[in-house]
Amino acid sequence: MSRKYSITICDGPTCLHKKSKELGAAIEQCLKEHGLTDKVRINLSGCLGMCAKGPIMIINPGYTIYGGVTAGDVAEIIEKHIIKNKPVSRLAIEEDHLYNRFFRVFGDVNFFGKQLRIVLRNCGIIDPESIDDYLSVRGYEALARVLTEMKPSDVIDEVKKAGLRGRGGAGFPTGTKWFLTARETSDEKFVICNADEGDPGAFMDRSTIEGDPHSVIEGMCVGGYAVGAKKGFIYIRAEYPLAIKRLEKAIADAKNEGFLGDKIMGSDFSFDIEIRLGAGAFVCGEETALIHSIEGHRGMPRPRPPYPSVQGVFNKPTLINNVETWANIPVVILDGAEWFKSIGTEKSKGTKVFALAGKIKNTGLIEVPMGITLRSIIYDIGGGIPNNKKFKALQTGGPSGGCLSEEYLDTKIDYDSLAQAGSIMGSGGMIVLDEDTCMVNIAKFFLEFTENESCGKCAPCREGTKRMLEILTRITEGKGEDDDIKKLERLGKLIQKASLCGLGQSAPNPVLSTLKNFRSEYEEHIKEKKCRAKVCSALLGYEISEKCIGCTACKKVCPTGAISGIQKSRHVIDQSKCIRCGACFEACKFNAIKRT
């Protein structure tokens, strides 16, 4: 037997309860007895979403799923499946779900083992530009089912029951939003897909659209049917040309096949989708600003209420959801609310897509069940921090989010736990920071972004972020004053309370959360004029060590003549003349100049 097998055992809470740990131990024991330990790898995975049939184990290659396995079945499975390559049909589960197809076509278990793909179920599997490919993976069946078997109110009930919450970041219950839009009476209603993804380093929506545009379109059709809308808009930024091209093709193909347009598939329901391009203003991700932009006005938010469900595009009731939320809908309909709500935590159901970036080995786009720990994401899926550096913080939620320190690593991800820890779920950006990152500088980076993107309509956001940025800048330049921390906190809380829209209300979060979790770094910057990560160049000092051979290279580049010394002997920096430009550090070929 030369072939390698891998056995993946579900480590979700339900399977644990159903003795998956004991099952794992029995498998290990049995493999040892047969001398197969080297040939079979055992993996643990997060909840695989088949809790009713737990404990679940999957044997690859071949993707055989076994359910309800007890320690007593292990010998039979090993002897028949692993040794004789004959799966034990008595225990195998053969169901056609939408969600789990992923594991079947992918190896690479270390990266994908803990993931559960609902939104990204087809991303990286089908050809996004072929409607045939989408149809072959049960595409448009959810739409057909609601048109055949369900009243609009049934659809809303199903979405409500599933416990799906808005994936744009705020986590508003999707079913409730649908209900609020549906109950309005109006001659015209609209559906919007918010694809104005603007967080630095986030690309969840772009990848979803580029990898599987039809699932978003199908979700929107179902939403339109549920609330009684005939027209949908996809608001997407012009910086995503490939996503736009694929959406255009998908919409044209769907029209050709009769999934969009008049009297869809012979029913009484008509629905059409139009693409609207955004010019890349961050504030246009805010729903009221986005609506203004679609109407042709300048993208600026307005006070709510009235909410878009009452008064949206062209003052008509409008249902607006994020790309990821829409892509969940076909799965909720086909696999059912009962199944969907079995995944996740008590208050957050289903999965979340994250764009994993920063100081981490496997950067990438991942989708994990709610309730997985941050540690598991960083170390199991992400592979940990490269170059043996130490973990320092995890930034979630982009410019509206916060930085979490190591003590929060065992937090189980959901909307509420992240908010409690001082950050937010956000749309799904996740940036790992290591010990070489200066937290003050990171806070400054995100504030620069929001200060830049503030639309300027309300004073707290327009003026407040500017003042905060000034304070942060002077701290990083070594000119911090004693009460700067207090000022930052006061300003931050004020901006949170007084701003008009979500952009301003969340803009101080990166500063406030770093002040909470990394206060000592701010204090060091202000009082000791030190940057422990050695990032803030104004706070660095330079010294020449005994390694100096007296080549005079540093002396030649020093713009202020602070370096003295004769050829072939150790040079010295006059600290009173040094302006900390770092030119000598760059010039030295002998590593003789140290940053202090």
């Binding site: 992918f106 490919d133 072959s136 580029e210």
Partner: protein, 118 residues
């Protein structure tokens, strides 16, 4: 008259027929990642290599593009799927590597271990 569910099932059957007609089941399937990120990493070049090879007579290969699978740091990715075998994913594929994948893996069935994503 057919219900929407019956219509979609009929359309699905036709779609699957068309895909199978293109050789989906009988051959090795090669998927090249073609999302913005993959293209930025150079996947268009890789795709071109496979397309040219097919034009020049490479047979028994079903070539398709795919969206982003999430392996950002290992792009461009190329996946070779054969019925009944473990799917093989190659990472950081260059033009030259694509040529070798054609010669060694597609033509001779050799899996090029050192390039496989584990």
């Amino acid at each position: 008259m057919l219900t929407p569910l019956e219509i979609v099932k009929k359309k699905r059957a036709e779609a699957i027929n068309r895909i199978v007609g293109k050789g989906y089941l009988s051959t090795k399937r090669v998927y090249v990642g073609m999302a913005t990120c993959e293209i930025a990493a150079g996947s268009k070049d890789v795709m071109e290599v496979f397309q040219t090879a097919i034009k020049n007579g490479l047979t028994d290969v079903y070539l398709s593009q795919k969206g982003c699978a999430g392996r950002c740091n290992l792009e461009p990715t190329v996946e070779v799927v054969e019925e009944g075998c473990i799917p093989v994913k190659y990472g950081r594929v260059s033009r030259d590597m694509a040529h070798q994948i054609i010669e060694r893996h597609l033509k001779k069935g050799e899996i090029i271990e050192e390039w496989v994503i584990r």
